[in-house]
Amino acid sequence: MRRTAETAPRPARRQRRPGPMLLLAGLLLLAGCSGGSPSALNPQGTGAARVNGLWWLLFWISVAVFAEVMALLAWALVFRRGTARVRHGQPLRFVTIAGAGLPFIILVAVYGVGLRDLAALGAGPGRDALTVEVIGHQWWWEVRYAGRSGATANEIHIPVGERVKVRLRTDDVLHSFWVPQLMPKTDLISGETRETWLEARQAGSYRGQCAEYCGTQHAHMAFLVVAQPRADFDAFLDRLDAPARAPQTDAERRGQQTFVQGTCAACHSIRGTGAQGRVGPDLSNVGSRWSIGAGAVPNDAGHLGGWIANSQTVKPGNAMPPQPVDAARLPDLIAYLRSLE
């Protein structure tokens, strides 16, 4: 189950309305065959799908009104240049109807639709829905499941087709929880708790990213929502309660020793070992994560080594200081961390 952002499975684009898509196709092309894009126009969840519908409604209204304005402007430019005689009327009725009356009707209608969608977004899951607790840190996401002792980071597993409650808190400054393909944003407010929900219609991985400016590394505070069939999800949950995978080879055992006895344990936990730090992400399953450093770099041996030696070159300003790990011990440490699935 090793994924990087590049290889993450991505379901086929579902095109609900061919018309607008045709019009935007050229523009989409501009965007460079946005196959891997976490696009809100390619919704895969109930919440985002609703907003997508609203967007196309607004888009077409705007096109129509803009066409009207441009037509009037063009008419003036074509027919009222040069020698045309000035007319001194005051067509107040035209101004009121075109500028206030028609827009008012349109806006009232659209407002009604918008209200309905807002209510749908706010409806939330049932009371005893599965609850994921997401805690924002500068600049990574801690992920916990109600009733489970273990934690993970920057990767949220959910069962496909079910509405999952997400409880949002922040450990420091404001962040914002956004998975464009699944659900609009909810901010994480210091000193308070917020709730939102996720429902993925198809299995797959959906990229999310912090959308509230939160300091130096706001750019690298991404996460992945992995929607999987219920059985796989349950297996994932069960692993959260069990100790992390034990080291199998000598190298891994030495790596574990380095980790637990070194500085790492002060900040990181690995279930079933002496490492119980809470400053940084839980690393019990770090080997299977999609990235290192909340989307900063792909998760492979080279990047992991670089991260441990000096994460500041990878993600300048992040809260993990450069680690003075003996060059001889580094490969073992890497091997151990990579084995943690």
Partner: protein, 642 residues
Amino acid sequence: MSTTLSTPPGIGREDLARLAEHWDEPRSLRAWFTTVDHKKIGRRYLVTAAFFFVLAGLSALVMRTQLARPESGVLSPQEYNQLFTMHGTAMIFLFATPMLFGFGNFLVPLMIGSRDMAFPRLNAFGYWVFLFAGLFMWASLPFGAAPNNGWFAYAPLNQDQHNPGLHMDVYALGLLFLGISTTSGAINFIVTALKLRAPGMSLNRVPLFVWAIVATAFMVVFALPALNTDNALLFLDRRFDTHFFDPGGGGNVLLWQHLFWIFGHPDVYIIVMPGLGIVSAVLPAFTRRGVVGYPLIVLAIVAISIVSFGVWVHHMFATGLPQLSYSFFSAASTIITIPSGIQIFAWLATMMLGRLVLRAPLLFVIGFIVTFVLGGFTGAMFALTAFDQQVTDSYFVVAHFHYVLLGGALFPILAGIYFWLPKITGRMYHEGLGRWAFWLVFTGMHVTFFPMHLYGLFGMPRRVYTYRSDLGWDVGNLISSIGSYVLALGLLLVLIGVVHAIRRGRPAGPDPWEGDSLEWSAASPPEAYNFPVIPCVHSLHPTWDERTVESTTTGATKDRILSEGKRTLFTSELDARPERAAPMPEPSFKPLVLAGVLLVFFTALLLGAYPVAVAAVLAVAATIAAWLWPPRRPDEEIGIAS
């Protein structure tokens, strides 16, 4: 048709000589520091704001260079974060508002037929404070201590424990300092427009530009205190350990957002309103008729300025407030588009009835309509909470506000520059250069910002210093960056055009456009006293109106020439009946001194030299006391019963 340097009928040579004697300031270094002439001050506002615009624009170019390619290393995250914050803060506070205030300063007295602003020395003071506050903020950049928390500086990232260093102190103090200038300027505009209008200019004959400036000034008076409160509390939190925004001490981080946006939303109309006023002022000259629906437009201006105070929560649609309040603010935000719609269609109607003279100012007005309407539509989309929650804090929002800001402020400003350059400098610009500039700016603008809608929808958040290349944002960003260079080139041409006009332009004469408002009846550039004869206004288009013109020529009377002493006419607030001729102040060093002492005060606060700050406060009090100290007069003159 209007006054030129030769003596017009109705006013004697001696009168002109006496006016010149009382109003002219000598060309000396001393006069440069002491001037209170609204035209010089207005010009300084324009030049200084343009300077800050170039700085902020160049910051944007550096940002765009960094963002042109994924994972590029032009800037460190710390540098990028300071640059985008300074870009936004400077564009909003040091460019858009002061630039439009500069137009207001230069034009309002001319448009209402007055010889200066109501408080000329306060005006000079406001300029110096603006200059010093701008330098105060920009000076932090070379030290790597510039504000780094975005232009709205949310708590708690603005707090000491999350953001050590001087960054946010510069922000809080800089904006408080600048606020003094903005507030004093606003009050000055209000009083000027109320009391100094030429006789006969009743409220229904006030030019739309002046209406817009006055509405703006009222919004400043009631909106800016919220920002000042915010920043004062922030400074106390940072330096004196209070807990306003600290949940640990019982404070609340959302208080910052509420106060900021109670200011911030009216502020975006503070920026756009004078821009719309410029459009209304430019159109008559190039359509050869008055703007359609004057009363409707005035109504729209007033409506916008009131409703704008009731929509601030639409900037907080993702903070998880109760749905009920969201439905209210969503409705208010939806409704506020209507007055803008009225104005747009009034201008369209004007163009459809008039005879278009397609010169550079009109080109920029057309560019304004196209751009602003597109930006307005995305604004109307955000008003729907559900949609906003999806796109807020993404590049879609960046696209929206550049469309409305460039469309609603920059294009009108450029139109205004070309339109009034002849009046300000007495020289005509080069039309061909102006057209090139327009097309480059227009194309550059849309190439830069249109793609942002798309990659915003594709999930790109704003304020990221870099992005991975596998997300489908590469091409759009590259296009934006290319567009921004085109845009910069166009602006460079504007700059060249202005310099060229000043150096080489042919003399413009007082009224090159055959404009309708009073500034076109003054000389170009206007005399120090603006009008040899203060006109008597008989219609909404005084310069096109025979009787008004007559009032300054054959119909000139002594009480409107006022050549004894440095005086202008005060009139009544509503229907502009003459009240009295009032003396205007002489040039003075005090405004500069007072602003300088304030600079010392704020610098001392920034560096924590509190005793110095206290001393500066005392110096401020002393300067003001001396400034306003009443001159000694004989008893019978002041009216003591003996």
